[in-house]
């Protein structure tokens, strides 16, 4: 009787795609090792029984070498072997490397079904595998699948029951590789192929000169496309909807509103020159939805469009190789680009994915750097909205300050923290092109995730702020911090509220700066401070979970210290 099904396999073989296919639970999958850092669970119907399916982070062997691998191996041993089935997912294009884990699983007596995934890609690359022969040699069911298109999934579910424990053996790794060599000899046939265009591009991207040229071009293009799509959505979709449809409705509503009291203030906010101004009115029905849907959402869509594309194609590990040198000086290694890039979307998944880094020291440095120097999409979208009209100089300035901070802070942390950074060892996946449907699904999943998490916080946040402002409850806090804000940072005392709101949501906080009538230099300082000062509450919770209490206190002190230094420095250099 199978009570639990585990999915296990090398990193980047498509476990998460198989998991989604089996359970219908959507999880993020990409083309790089280590996408799954958390264990995902779902259910599969098997002979009218609901069986739990667990998607484990990828591992190369049953002797774990990283935190994510440790999790996989310990979970696998939680239940007696008779009550579980293990689906070992194998990359058909690279059978040899994958077989070590397969043989270990069988050797340890786990009931295994081998799932030869990416069978179509193997065919394209001239790799032919004799499935029947492999099944005979392994003494376990072997099923050929292509998870992206769904081929073989039905057969896989039918044959899970056949998984059975066979008498184990205890070979050393070296002996196993000999055995694998023999199996490969018998079951795999490689067609001789000339280098394809794809392979030439794969090689070029990891060579020093061509690699750097490609990286420069890709990053530049990515940035341009994000701006193009983001602005396109704003100019052609969201702004017309807000201005031509939504504003007249609200305008009618507010003229019928005789007494402009508490509720008017809460829902509509202040009228600017007798009219509703989506950027400045600060009401639950005006500024709140405009910030969320009219300014941030378009960029969330465009950013994740590009990020998902780069992820799925398999470009990010190549960027990691090229940046390894630079990141080493910050106490990290090349693979830290993945958490950093995810952090540009939202700091929460960024900090979570620092788990792909091996040591606690690296995870501390990476998480701290992300919290301070990596602005999330909502924040960036608002910075563009706030400073964009004054020219690229100011927007670029914010990024320049943040980038310099990351470098300086990284160097200091690397020199001052005890220990050393472990070495870089990474498998580079081949380029792959995901089917469009899968790509849109992932984009939809991420955008929906943003809406579900951000909308209530933004609406409630603006509501809460308005109540506090209406009853003048902020005055107390403002009075305490006004001297710091004013004398040290050169900002008016009302900016205290905006900086405090930054703890809840960065986009709303930048929005709060808009009605204050600040000079462009003051806006620049305010926006920079919001970016570095403190992560929002959601990132903070994750930070505490990942770093522990001591780590998070240390990280927070660094953030506060840096905000004060940078704020004061900017104030005295550009305002005076």
């Amino acid at each position: 009787m199978i009570k639990k099904i585990y999915l296990i396999g090398n990193p980047n073989v498509g476990k998460s795609v198989i998991f989604s296919r089996l359970t219908g639970v959507q999880v993020i999958s990409s083309n790089y090792p280590g996408t799954t850092v958390e264990v995902a669970k779902g259910y599969l119907r098997l002979d009218n029984e609901k069986v739990e399916v667990v998607d484990l982070p990828g591992t190369y062997s049953l002797d774990p070498t990283s935190k994510a691998e440790e999790v996989s191996v310990s979970l696998l041993k939680e239940f007696p072997k008779e009550e579980i089935a293990v689906i070992n997912i194998v990359d058909s294009t690279n059978l040899e490397r994958n077989l070590l884990l397969t043989l270990q699983l069988i050797g340890e007596g786990f009931p295994v079904v081998v799932c030869m995934n990416m069978c179509d890609d193997a065919g394209h690359r001239g790799v032919h595998i004799n499935i029947a022969k492999l099944e005979e040699l392994l003494e376990a069911p072997v099923i050929s699948t292509c998870a992206l298109t769904g081929v073989g999934i039905k057969l896989l579910t039918e044959r899970i029951k056949e998984a059975a424990s066979v008498p184990g053996d205890k070979l050393t790794h070296q002996e196993r590789w000999l055995e694998i060599g023999k199996i490969i000899e018998e079951v795999q046939h490689l067609e001789h192929r000339h280098h394809t265009f794809r392979e030439i591009m794969e090689d070029a991207s990891v060579r020093p000169v061509t690699g750097l040229i490609m990286a420069g071009a890709i990053i530049y293009a990515a940035f341009k496309i994000v701006r193009f799509i983001g602005e396109g959505i704003i100019n052609h979709i969201t702004d017309p909807v807000f201005i031509n449809i939504y504003q007249p409705i609200l305008g009618k509503l507010s003229t019928y509103w005789q007494e402009k009291g508490f509720w008017f203030h809460l829902l509509i906010g202040d009228l600017i020159n007798g009219k509703i101004d989506f950027k400045q009115s600060l009401g639950v029905l005006t500024t709140a939805p405009y910030i969320e849907f009219g300014m941030v959402l378009p960029y969330v869509v465009s950013f994740y469009f590009i990020l998902s594309l780069l992820e799925d194609i398999g470009y990010l590990p190549r960027l990691a190789v090229l940046l390894d040198n630079l990141l080493h000086r910050l106490g990290l290694h090349g693979y830290a680009v993945i958490p950093v890039l995810l952090g540009f979307g939202c700091n929460v998944p960024g900090i979570l994915s620092t788990r792909v880094l091996e040591s606690k020291r690296e995870r501390f440095i990476a998480s701290t750097i992300i919290s301070i120097g990596v602005p999330c999409v909502p924040l960036q979208a608002m910075i563009f909205g706030l400073l964009g009209k004054f020219g690229g100089f100011y927007v670029g300035g914010v990024y320049l300050v943040l980038f310099s901070l990351v470098i300086i802070l990284g160097i200091i942390l690397n020199r001052s923290l005890p220990g050393y950074s472990p070495e870089f060892l990474l498998e580079i996946p081949p380029y792959r092109f995901p089917p469009l449907l899968m790509f849109w699904k992932k984009l939809y999943f991420r955008v929906r995730g943003f809406l579900v998490e951000a909308t209530p916080v933004v609406l409630l946040g603006v509501c809460f702020i308005n109540i506090l402002l209406y009853f003048k409850l902020f005055d107390f806090v403002t009075a305490i911090f006004a001297p710091i804000i004013h004398d040290l940072f050169g900002l008016p005392k009302e900016a205290v509220v905006a900086l405090a709101i930054g703890f809840f949501r960065k986009d709303v906080a930048v929005g709060m700066l808009m009605p204050l009538g600040l000079s462009v230099n003051q806006l620049f300082i305010g926006a920079t401070l919001l970016a570095i000062s403190f992560p929002c509450v959601a990132s903070f919770v994750v930070l505490a979970k990942e770093l522990g209490l001591k780590g998070v206190i240390k990280s927070t002190l660094i953030m506060i210290g840096i905000s004060i230094i940078v704020g004061a420095l900017l104030h005295f250099t550009i305002l005076r």
Binding site: T65, R97, H173, V206, L322, N325, E423, F424
Partner: protein
């Protein structure tokens, strides 16, 4: 015979793994990724002076940090 590491050979050279220095942890990690004694590999590239070395082992492409690559001793065919 002179002991050479992955760092010292040129790009596109075909070599065989002779030994992996630097403790059993690194050895078993590389072993689990398919880089073990006697395995033929090709060096694809070397990024910068102290940067990572990219190799092809079987059908996998692996990037090894500079100090890892220094510990992988190889012999020319």
């Amino acid at each position: 015979m002179k002991r050479i590491s992955l760092v010292q050979i040129k790009s596109n050279e075909k070599v065989k793994i002779l030994e992996i220095l630097g403790g059993s942890n690194l050895e078993s990690k590389l072993l689990s990724m398919g880089v073990y004694k006697g395995k033929p590999v090709v060096k694809l590239s070397h990024i910068g002076l102290k940067g990572p070395v990219v190799i092809k082992a079987g059908r996998s492409i692996l990037a090894l940090g500079h100090s890892v690559a220094e510990k992988v001793i190889v012999e020319r065919e």
